[in-house]
Symmetry: C2
Subunit: 195 residues, 2 copies
Amino acid sequence: MRVEAEPAESGRKPRADAQRNRERLLETAKAAFADAGPEVSLDEIARRAGVGIGTLYRHFPNRDAIVAAVYRREVQQLADAATRLMDTLPPGEALHQWMRLFVDYIATKKVIASALGAIVGGASELYASSGALIIGAVEALVGRASASGDIRADADPDDVLRALVGFTYGNTSPGWEASALRLIDILMDGLRPSP
Amino acid sequence: MRVEAEPAESGRKPRADAQRNRERLLETAKAAFADAGPEVSLDEIARRAGVGIGTLYRHFPNRDAIVAAVYRREVQQLADAATRLMDTLPPGEALHQWMRLFVDYIATKKVIASALGAIVGGASELYASSGALIIGAVEALVGRASASGDIRADADPDDVLRALVGFTYGNTSPGWEASALRLIDILMDGLRPSP
DNA sequence: CTTATATACGGAGGGCTCCTCCGCTTATCA
DNA sequence: TGATAAGCGGAGGAGCCCTCCGTATATAAG
């Protein structure tokens, strides 16, 4: 599964127009997802990007592939934020703040919500790389927090990610964001070691 | 919105064949959802039921309508279970057990998962009646548990339902069930009044 | 029982989707 | 400056949801 453009190992280097088109498609897709929801048809993305539908499908073998490519960058940002928070806050606080950031993030970039769902749902292989990214972040946050005693020693990072994705699942109903934030607080309380 | 068959207020009573077909469709749909997932095409349901696609659409104006009709009965059972548990267990325990039951329920009847998601997601009006059913159950359980002091006084039933649906969201990945059960325990811990 | 008619029926087909296929064009390299 | 591999576009297949309408029939009235 190759999704990201890279020099590649073949003798020739990739044609300039191909690279241009790939980039155009990614940017157009990102914009289209943002302002027309994650249901936009691929035909429309191709049209907006000014390329044929065939070109789109050569670069991205199916719908999932282009979604995955688009939101991989976004997930990267979330993972980076985790590192930043761990450097500046005590472990428990870092976890808590990151979870809140997660909600913010979904709120502004709904695109990634469905894809995160697919990771948790164990759906597509295509999300594997992004999945690893985010799981890695959660593992680090939870690992440190449990090592420091801020949360239970037996807290499972997968559970935490599942909870987070779940809380942000119904992200179209009014008030979902406040609800998710409250649930995160409750989750943190529940994760604390029992006295 | 009429979905359930009833004597109705019109002069004539509904034709016998119509009622038969409606029932056939509902049962076939339930079976189809169970063994082919919630994505089965309506054409296939009609075919399996041995009626024309037109007949299906006369009884159920769109896809959501037939899904709603099918899973309404299921949701009813969940709501009934809540009443039963409240009669036989202390409030906190009743809530806890019901949440565990919820997971079991999703595990065996995945059909309803997506529909419950739609409720929490505030999606379709069509789910309104079933939504009321389940929200009523959660409100009763949470209300009693918080009145008795088993959980915080400020616990919000909507939050609890959202959490439950979220935990059971990725119900295809391996181990989701165990994870959801662990999360429910954590949620309960988090809901307890602070000392 | 016959007849009239409101009611219900089946399925063709419209418009959308995702995706495949293939003849034409063009960037690259010798 | 070609030769050619790489890339391009869009027609069209298959499947989906849903609408429409001519045909058939259960029911109520005579």
